[in-house]
Amino acid sequence: MKKLLSGNEAVARGAWEAGVNVVSAYPGTPSTEILENLAKYQEIYAELATNEKVGLEVAAGASFAGARALTCMKHVGLNVAADPLFSMAYIGASGGFVVVSADDPGMHSSQNEQDNRYYAKMAKIPCLEPSDSQECLELTRLAFDLSEKFDTPVLLRLTTRISHSKGVVELGERKEHKPAGYVKNIAKNITIPAHARKMHAKVEERLKMLAEYGESFFYNRIEEGDRKLGIITSGISYQYAKDIFPGVSYLKLSLTFPIPQKLIAGFINSVDEIYVIEENDTFLEEQIKAMGYQVKGQSAFEKEITGKSKVPILGELDPTAVAKGFGLQKEQAYQNIQVPGRPPVLCPGCPHRGVFFALNKLKLTVAGDIGCYTLGMMEPLNAIDTVICMGGSVTAAMGLEKALGVEMAQRTVAVIGDSTFFHSGITGLIDMVYNNSQGTLIILDNRITAMTGHQENPGTGKTLQGQEAPIVDLEPLVRSCGVKHIQIIDPLNLKQTEAAVKEAINNPGVSVIIAKSPCILIEKKFQPALRVDEDKCIGCKLCLKLGCPAISFDKAKKKSHIDPLYCIGCQVCAQLCPKGAMGRGEVVK
């Protein structure tokens, strides 16, 4: 059967077909749909992990049991999970163990564009790179076999355009995998130095075997064409290259670490000129150049290897970027016209708005974090000063206080979402308490992991599949960390929010405000839209400072206007209006 699937859907399907037993992952764009699709299969235990490290470790534990296990994450998630990844690289895999990293070149929804193929190299584990949805399915399926055959975790590296592009996929059937069961083997599974020294030797041997395997690996293939030009490429870049350079010779690599040196040398010797076309960093180019232009058993090749001198290293590749890099893009027929930008904004009725309005009004320094609420940095709210990484708000605020003292603490707050707090904010909070800090943390508890498309989390009372789950309650949790000053507020109540923030920043010690109000997109229980009474509106534009997409300013009338299609009736603007001009339809003429 054939079906139009995204790369992420195809990875999920491939894992299911491979008989995967256990999946644990934290959502992160562009990886999220892998877990969401795996959740649909009854045969698989799939769960939302509290963070990527947890996800990788749960999968590792399942692998100890001889189960086939998978974890998936966005590229920066692998930074969080790097510690257990490197240990598992030594331990290996009893049951097939696949780690999926979805990188985000172009940073569509990320803070950097790191190239996670380097993790494979550093951890000395194989890296597979599919080029389309069909290969996503096939290489995922195969990754489990490879993992068991070579006793290693396998890194399956996707990028945004692989994850989020759809293509036609030929589906297969599930081959059940029965976990072999746990067998005690401390020399294999305990990474104490005495064991690890032996493990390292095995890892080096394994790499050699993998390199040899890659020489005849079906998915490392030469496509013979015009021999004037040979292109070495992998992943999505293969597709772009095929469009820009049709008919030339290709070496398409799918196992990009370790590389098949003999295959590469043979290919280079068979063509006149060599291009290496890859997205992000010079991963393949470096390795090929490091071959020293000579491989035993092959004649030396003395050719220029053209890679990042032509192919952009910044941003996402696409066919135009590849064509431009090689001077092949004709001037386009029509020109873009400069028009006002349309950045994403906090939704109408978003409960985060009340908090950021208060923080802006009080002119505080705000250490921000990762989630929808990062949008609090946008004009006109303009209420975030720093963003580092998941959980980094709490500790950044603490560092500011430690550097500049209590006065700074009284002008500073950290904001973090509920899911991000569970992910890695809580360790920072414990550090604040333990190290006698003064500081304020606002937990924006909107009862969901919103940014990645509304996943449940430990605070919501539901599992990945929507089944009932115990609730990890923030208030007692924070209290048990040693925080004495805790306020629970409704962020849609502007007065209460502002008062709570003022109280918290002046409180000695650690203060936590839990701003509790569900994301408006969860249940979509909207109130009737408000309307502006134009007789009352004095055109002061105070309501525009909320940055609500439903509110605009009519320049001709010099009055504010509420778009009834967008307004969900949250009433935040009504609290702000000095003239009481915002009201329900029926009470305003």
Binding site: H164, P343, P344, G547
Partner: protein
């Protein structure tokens, strides 16, 4: 047959992504290879949204190369202006008559270019304006606007009508199938 390239643009929440799915699925139903690509994450938050759809005998890149789009299907007037460099010489822009104000315009920091469709025409682009909002309401719901626009787009592609109808029927809520069929027809006549 050369690969057919359609670039769809609009604003988060307008139904751009579903429209792209339907084109790709209709093309596959008609026996073609197809790929589509878009970026998720910000689609619900009112940002610019773009989707690339390609179909033909064999499709490589899921992204369209600049200067090669056969049609730009634009759900919002101003959004069209950001992607004109994708249109091939002699290509068509099907533009929905609708303006959605971005935050910068709503707050008065920027002006919405009211004559944007005229500016596009001035470059020599073949422009077809579709009264999407009006036709969708005529079909029974403003929510069918993306299907109306697919109707308008269908006149510029070589996919059989029944494949469109079949695909749409499979992708919209069962209760709304008739309404969406009507929306498609109105769009293709309009």
């Amino acid at each position: 047959m050369d690969t057919v390239n359609i670039l769809i643009c609009g604003v988060g929440g307008q139904g751009v992504l579903l429209a792209g799915d339907i084109i790709a699925e209709a093309a596959i139903a008609a026996g073609f290879d197809a790929k589509k690509s878009e970026v998720h994450g910000m689609a619900q938050r009112g940002g610019s949204v773009v989707s690339h759809v390609r179909y033909g005998q064999k499709v490589n890149s899921p992204l369209i190369r600049q200067g090669t789009a056969d049609v730009i299907l634009s759900f919002e007037e101003m959004e069209t202006a950001r992607y004109l460099d994708f249109l091939k010489s002699g290509g068509t822009a099907v533009i929905n008559r609708q303006q959605v104000m971005p935050m910068t315009v709503a707050t008065g920091a920027a002006e919405y270019p009211q004559d944007i469709v005229e500016q596009i025409k001035k470059q020599g682009v073949k422009v077809v304006v579709c009264e999407g909002v009006k036709l969708a309401e005529q079909a029974g719901s403003a929510k069918t606007i993306n299907i109306v626009l697919l109707g308008a787009l269908s006149k510029h592609l070589n996919l059989p009508a029944e494949k469109w109808i079949e695909t749409i029927a499979g992708r919209v809520p069962p209760k709304t199938v008739e309404m969406n069929k009507k929306a498609f027809e109105l769009g293709s006549k309009g």
